[in-house]
Amino acid sequence: MGTVHARSLDPLPMNGPDFGSHDDADLVEVEPQKKQEILENKDVVVQRVHFEGLGRTKDDLIAHEIGQVFKAKNLIEVMRKSHEAREKLLRLGVFRNVEVLIDTCEGEDALPNGLDVTFEVTELRRLTGSYNTMVGNNEGSMVLGLKLPNLFGRAEKMTFQFSYGTKETSYGLSFFKPQVGNFERNFSVNLYKVTGQFPWSSLRETDRGVSAEINFPIWKTSHTLKWEGVWRELGCLARTASFAIREESGHTLKSSLSHTMVIDSRNTSILPKRGALLKINQELAGYTGGDVSFLKEDFELQLNKQLAWDSVLSTSLWGGMLVPIGDKPSSIADRFYLGGPTSVRGFSMYSIGPQSEGDYLGGEAYWAGGMHLYTPLPFRPGRGGFGDLFRTHFFLNAGNLCNLNYGEGPRAHLRRLAECIRWSYGAGIVLRLGNIARLELNYCIPMGVQSGDRICDGVQFGAGIRFL
C-alpha cells in the first residue's frame, strides 16, 4: 500500500517530456508500509475518482475536467494527469482549495494494480464581498465588490462592483459563463457605467454601456467577438477647456461589433523572456444602430529574444487607423492617443499630435515602435528573491500620430506617418508587480519634438499594464 500526495507535485513542469527518476525522489513521498511495492514503472489503472466536499457544483462540469486522469497508464502519468486536473479545477474559479490523494484501490472489485484518485475540494462561498476605500487626487471613493462564484453550479460567475466617489459614481455588473468542458470557450455579458477624466484633453467622459462577448480558441489563436452598445456623454473638465473640446460635448450612442485575435507565445505577459505576441483588433461601429459610424483597425506586435547574461531584447510595434464612415467627423472619444510613459517615453501622457489650445485631440492614425534591452540589476542585488522583480532597461521608442486625409492615396498616408516622427531614448528601472502590472522609472531624452507636443525631459515615472 502506498499513499502518494500529489500536492507535492506543484513544482513539476507542466509538459516536461522526460521525468528523471532522480526528481521523483524529492517529489513523491512514499510512506513506509509493511507491504511495500514499487509502483513506479508498473502499469496501473485508475479505477475510481472520488470527490469530497462537492456542494452545488454539477457533476458534468468536473467530469470533463478530470476525464484525462482515467487515461493514465502508470503512476507518474497518474500523478501528472491529476496535477493537471487540479490546475484545471482551480482555473474554473469554483474551488478555494483542491487537494489530490492517490491511493491503491480497496474493496471487492479492486484490481491489483488499481488506483483511486480522490480530490478533496473546498468550494468557494456562494457570495463573497470586498470593501475598499481609495483616496486619489482630490477625490475619495468607496468601492464595494460582490462576487457570486459558481452561481448555477457550472462555473458561472456573477460579479458586481460599485464605486461611490466624492466626484463620480461607477458600477459594473458582469455575468460569465464558460462552456462545460472547454473553459476557454466562454460567454460574458457586462453592464457598466464608468467615468473617465482626461486632463490632457480637458475632457470628461461618462460611459454607460452593455456588452456581450464570446471568447473561443482556434488552433493557437484566441478570438473574441464582441458587441457593445454604449451611451457616451462628453463634457469639459474645466471652464478653461478649449473650444474644440467644447464642440465635442454632448451625447453619442455607439453600437459596435469588434473582433480581436491574439496569438501569444510569451512565457509571461509582464517582462517576458521569450515568445511573441500578435494582437489584431477591428471594430465596426454604426451598422448595428447608434449615431457613430467608423471602422477602426489596430494591431500590436511584440517579439522577445533571450540574450546572454539573462538579458532580453524586446521589440514591439503598434499601429492603428480609424476611418469615419459617412459625413460625420470622428469623435474625440474614438481617436487614438500617443505619448507617455507607457508608449513613447519622454513625452507627457497622450501629449503628441493634433491639439487645440493645449488640449490634445487625438489622431486618426498612429504607429509606435519600441526596442528594449532588459538586463538584471547591476551586481544583481537580491538575486533569487526580491531583486528578481527588478530589471534595468535601455530603450529606444518612436512613433507618430496624425490625421489622414482619406481622399489621398496610401502613398500620401505613409508619407504623412513618416514625417515628423517623435522618438526618444533612455534607460531606467522596471519593477514587476505580480503578473499583471509593472512600474517604471526612466531617464528619457525626447527627440523629434514637434511644436505643441508636451515633453517630459528627464525622469519619468510610469505605471501600467500595457507597455510599448
Binding site: L234, G235, C236, R239, F243, E247, G250, H251, L253, D291
Partner: protein, 274 residues
C-alpha cells in the same frame, strides 16, 4: 459665476474690443429648439442687437452641452465662453456697452425686479407647459428634444430632462399646479408687464434695456410658436400694448437691419408676428 471669475472676466474683457467673429450658439432652429430655449436665445439676440454688437448665430444640436452652464444660448467671444442673459449682460458691460447706464438706482432695482418676474413666471410657465403638460410633452417636446439622437438614447435623454424639470417644479411648488393655474400666472405676469409698460415705447421710456430684450424674447416666442392649443398665445394677445411692443422691437432691431445683416440672422429669429 464666482466673484473672482467675475473680476477676471471684466478685466480681460475690458482690454479687448468686441471681435468681428463673435458667435452665438443655440439649438437647431427648425427641428430642435424648445419654447423656453428659443425665448432665451431670442432675448440674448435682441440684447446684443440693442447694444449694436454684431454676432453670428450658429445652430448646433449639442449647444446645450457645449454651454458652460448647461443652458442655451451662449456666446463665444475671443476665447471667452459666456452663457445666459445675466452673465452676458455683465460681460458686455465690462466691454463698455451697457443699456442700463442711464437708469438711476431705483429704476435699476425696478428693472431687476421685473426681470426676475419674467424669469420666475414666464420661463417657469414655459418649462411647465413643455415638460409637465402631457399633451405638449408627447406631441412637441419629446420629438423635438430627442431629434438629434437615435434609439434608445432619445428616450433616456427625454426621461432624464423631464425628471430634472419635475424635480425643479416640486422644489418651487409648481408641481401641484394645474395648467389653468399656470395660464392664470402667465396672465398676471403679462398684466403686470402691460401696466408697467403703459404707453411708453420701452419699459424705461425711450431707451431699451435688458428687460426689454428679455420680455421681447419670451413674448415674441410665445406669440409665434404653435403649441397644442392657443391658450397661452391668447393670454398674451389680450394685452395690445405688449403686442405693439414686440412688433416695435421686431421692426426696429430685426427687420431694419435686413440689408446689412445676413439673412441667416433674420431666419434664426423665426416667423414674424401676424
Amino acid at each position: 459665476m464666482s466673484l473672482v471669475t467675475d473680476a477676471f472676466v471684466s478685466q480681460i474683457a475690458a482690454v479687448e474690443p468686441w471681435p468681428e467673429n463673435a458667435a452665438l450658439y443655440q439649438p437647431l432652429k427648425s427641428e430642435q429648439v424648445l419654447l423656453s430655449d428659443n425665448a432665451s436665445c431670442l432675448a440674448v439676440q435682441a440684447f446684443l442687437k440693442m447694444c449694436n454688437l454684431p454676432v453670428q448665430v450658429v445652430c448646433r444640436a449639442n449647444a446645450e452641452y457645449m454651454s458652460p452652464s448647461g443652458k442655451v444660448p451662449f456666446i463665444h467671444v475671443g476665447n471667452q465662453v459666456i452663457s445666459e442673459l445675466g452673465p452676458i449682460v455683465q460681460f458686455v458691460k465690462a466691454k463698455g456697452h451697457s443699456l442700463s447706464d442711464g437708469l438711476d438706482e431705483v429704476q435699476r432695482a425696478e428693472m431687476k425686479a421685473y426681470m426676475e418676474l419674467v424669469n420666475n413666471m414666464l420661463l417657469t410657465a414655459e418649462l411647465y407647459i413643455q415638460w409637465c403638460d402631457e399633451a405638449t410633452l408627447e406631441e412637441i417636446t419629446q420629438p423635438r428634444y430627442s431629434f438629434p439622437y437615435s434609439w434608445p438614447l432619445n428616450y433616456f435623454l427625454v426621461f432624464q430632462r423631464k425628471w430634472e424639470i419635475k424635480r425643479k417644479m416640486k422644489a418651487i411648488g409648481w408641481a401641484t399646479k394645474t395648467l389653468e393655474q399656470v395660464f392664470e400666472d402667465v396672465d398676471q405676469c403679462c398684466q403686470a408687464l402691460s401696466q408697467r409698460l403703459g404707453t411708453q415705447p420701452y419699459f424705461f421710456n425711450k431707451q431699451p434695456t435688458e428687460l426689454d430684450a428679455l420680455v421681447f424674447g419670451h413674448l415674441f416666442t410665445i406669440l409665434t410658436t404653435q403649441l397644442t392649443n392657443d391658450e397661452l398665445q391668447e393670454k398674451v394677445k389680450n394685452y395690445s400694448n405688449l403686442i405693439a411692443f414686440c412688433r416695435r422691437i421686431e421692426q426696429h432691431y430685426f427687420e431694419d437691419h435686413d440689408s446689412s445683416i445676413s439673412s441667416s440672422t433674420k431666419l434664426s429669429k423665426g416667423p414674424t408676428l401676424p
